[in-house]
């Protein structure tokens, strides 16, 4: 039996050798093409800030994927950070403030809620779970204008709370926490603790919280990345110097003569400076990504296998 099957496998191998070779070539070409597609823009944006406008346009014969000079990088940096009295730092500060406070609120609110949904019995549990799933599957852009209209009705538009509070609502985090607690902690353990007379608060503090580190990291990661990169919501809620960096970044386009030749203000942003601003705007997220490389590649995988 074993001999026959292995024999046929070998026959198949040799008979399809050319096909096999073609298949390998296909794999190599495909991976190479998509690696170039995903990586080249990133390499470009890392190099662009080291160039002058002339260099970036290749008018001096430089290749677009070459390094300019540190001197030029310093010059671009200087122009960018002095633009409108360092408005870029104001925007970055706003982003830190909005995403930071939202992150705290999200964690404080989400972890106990996920715990209750995963490990406690109560009447509205199923309803709450179904609502969470529904809202989680609705793209968050779909709720931006409705939230704006609501905030407008209560006169909060233009204040930081109009950004922070909607940022703090993160149903996906509740779902992740719910899954985590309901699979990571055994009901028997909890019941034993409860029988021993421990109050629900004690059980949560002594048993659930010490085990919760991975899910806190996961929820923190997703809420930070989503909120930091959110454009639409802050765009409608806060203006000008109250904008976070992503909204500010898009505003810089209007001061870039390459896109707006009619611009009459004297202080302008060149293309390499705009590239530098783009890079700065995502630097915190990029750093978080690089440091959580292992966790990302395996973490998301683990998340996927939970279904």
């Amino acid at each position: 039996m074993t001999a026959t099957s292995s024999g046929s496998a070998t026959r198949a191998d040799s008979a399809f050798a050319p096909a096999r070779w073609l298949g390998r070539a296909f794999v190599v070409v495909l991976i190479a093409f998509f690696t170039v597609f995903f990586v080249i823009p990133l390499v470009w944006i890392l190099l662009a800030p080291t160039k002058s406008e002339t260099g970036l346009n290749r008018l001096n014969g430089e290749s677009s994927l070459s390094f300019g000079s540190f001197g030029q990088l310093a010059e671009n940096w200087h122009t960018l950070v002095t633009f409108q009295d360092g408005v870029i730092f104001t925007w970055l500060g706003n982003s830190v403030l909005y995403t930071g406070i939202a992150l705290l609120i999200t964690l404080v609110v989400t972890i106990p809620a996920g715990y209750a949904l995963g490990l406690m019995k109560f009447k509205l549990r199923r309803t709450l779970l179904a609502l969470t799933l529904m809202v989680m599957l609705i793209p968050n852009t779909a709720l931006v204008l409705p939230i704006f209209l609501e905030m407008n009705a209560v006169n909060l538009v233009g204040t930081p709370w109009a950004v922070i509070l909607p940022f703090s609502f993160f149903p996906f985090g509740v779902y992740l926490t719910y899954i985590y607690f309901s699979t990571a902690i055994s009901h028997d353990l909890l019941d034993a603790a409860r029988v021993d007379g421990a109050g629900e608060l004690t059980v949560f503090r002594r048993i659930a919280m010490p085990l919760a580190t991975p899910v806190i990291a996961l929820v923190g990661f997703f809420t930070f990345v989503t909120n930091w990169n959110n454009y639409f919501l802050p765009f409608v809620m806060v203006q000008g110097r109250k904008s976070p960096i992503q909204v500010g970044l898009a505003e810089l386009i209007s001061s870039t003569p390459a896109f707006n030749p009619t611009n009459v203000t004297t202080l302008t942003i060149s293309l390499p400076q705009l590239a530098l601003a783009t890079l700065i705007s995502v630097a915190p997220v990029l750093i978080v990504f690089l440091f959580s490389q292992r966790f990302l590649v395996s973490g998301l995988t683990a998340g996927a296998t939970k279904g």
């Binding site: 809620a113 709450l128 529904m134 990169n229 995988t301």
Partner: protein, 281 residues
């Protein structure tokens, strides 16, 4: 006690999930506080900008969903077939990093990639017959351009999820296929893809729902081209223009939002109530 634990979340869910939807529905069916039936919807649909916006969004969504499904499944299968461990994990990571730029930053980056005078692939752009940036972002090209941007930022995460799902296929199943003499292509078509169906459907639905919400890409392109890409290109942009434009018509804006919400909720409900993926009870 359970209510104390979930109270904070319930408040936020009511204030920023359910509340806005209810309020948007209220605004969509009223005008100056009075019930007007479907008047606001009729006004919006009759608006000369509505139909083009629907067509723009629909053509983007069609190209986007198909491209995403075909290439994510293909790449996940290929990366999964790589035996060299570091090569497989490195390529997954490289595909995923652009996700860090999701949103305004990725659109900014692609403004440069699509500008023949600074793009690293300018020879490719000129070969396709484009002399300058405005020619590249001409309206007929936009659905493809938005697909490229969305794929660049979003595909990596999905590839990792599909990869995880492929890892979940029991070894014995794959082994049996190999013993039967099935090659990589046959195994993919007859075993792996059918077992991935649930995940592919999930990805398709999420992509469809988020695709209808198109906003940041055309918004930034519109600023960068001074209107060559219209500021009411997509439905969300049009809803924005209704609320913030000269009409300042919050009811019309709410009507568009409600239509988009109905589509998104329909797709979400399909998933929640059809069970399957999220059924854990």
């Amino acid at each position: 006690m359970a209510y104390a634990f979930s109270s904070g979340y319930i408040v936020l869910l009511l204030a920023f999930g359910i509340g806005p939807m209810v309020y948007a529905v209220y605004l969509a069916f009223t005008k100056a506080g009075e019930f007007v039936g479907f008047d606001n919807f009729a006004n919006v649909v009759d608006d000369f900008r509505f139909k083009p916006a629907v067509i723009h969004v629909a053509s983007f969504v069609a190209i986007w969903v198909v491209t995403l499904i075909v290439f994510v499944v293909l790449l996940a299968l290929v990366v999964h077939s790589i035996r060299v461990r570091w090569l497989s994990s490195t390529s997954r990571f490289l595909f995923y990093i652009p996700g860090a730029l999701a949103g305004a930053a990725s659109v900014m980056l692609w403004l440069f990639m699509l500008n023949p005078s600074v793009s690293p692939v300018s020879s490719l752009l000129t070969q396709l017959g484009f002399e300058n940036f405005v020619e590249v972002v001409a309206q007929p090209n936009l659905p493809v351009i938005f697909t490229v941007i969305a794929f660049w930022t979003g595909a990596g995460g999905w590839i990792i999820i599909m990869f995880g799902a492929l890892n979940n296929i029991p070894n014995e199943v794959m082994e049996a296929a190999r013993i039967d003499g099935a090659g990589a292509v046959k195994t993919a078509l007859h075993i792996q893809i059918p077992l991935l169906k649930k995940w592919i459907a999930y990805m398709g639905i999420i992509a469809l729902a988020s695709g209808t919400q198109l906003f940041v890409e055309p918004k930034i392109l519109s600023t960068a081209t001074r209107g060559t890409v219209p500021k009411d290109y997509s439905l969300n942009q049009l809803a924005y223009v209704f609320a913030f434009g000269p009409q300042s018509d919050f009811n019309g804006s709410a009507a568009i939002s409600v239509m988009l919400l109905v589509v998104a909720m329909g797709l979400a409900a399909f998933f929640v109530f059809r069970g399957g993926l999220f059924d854990r009870h």
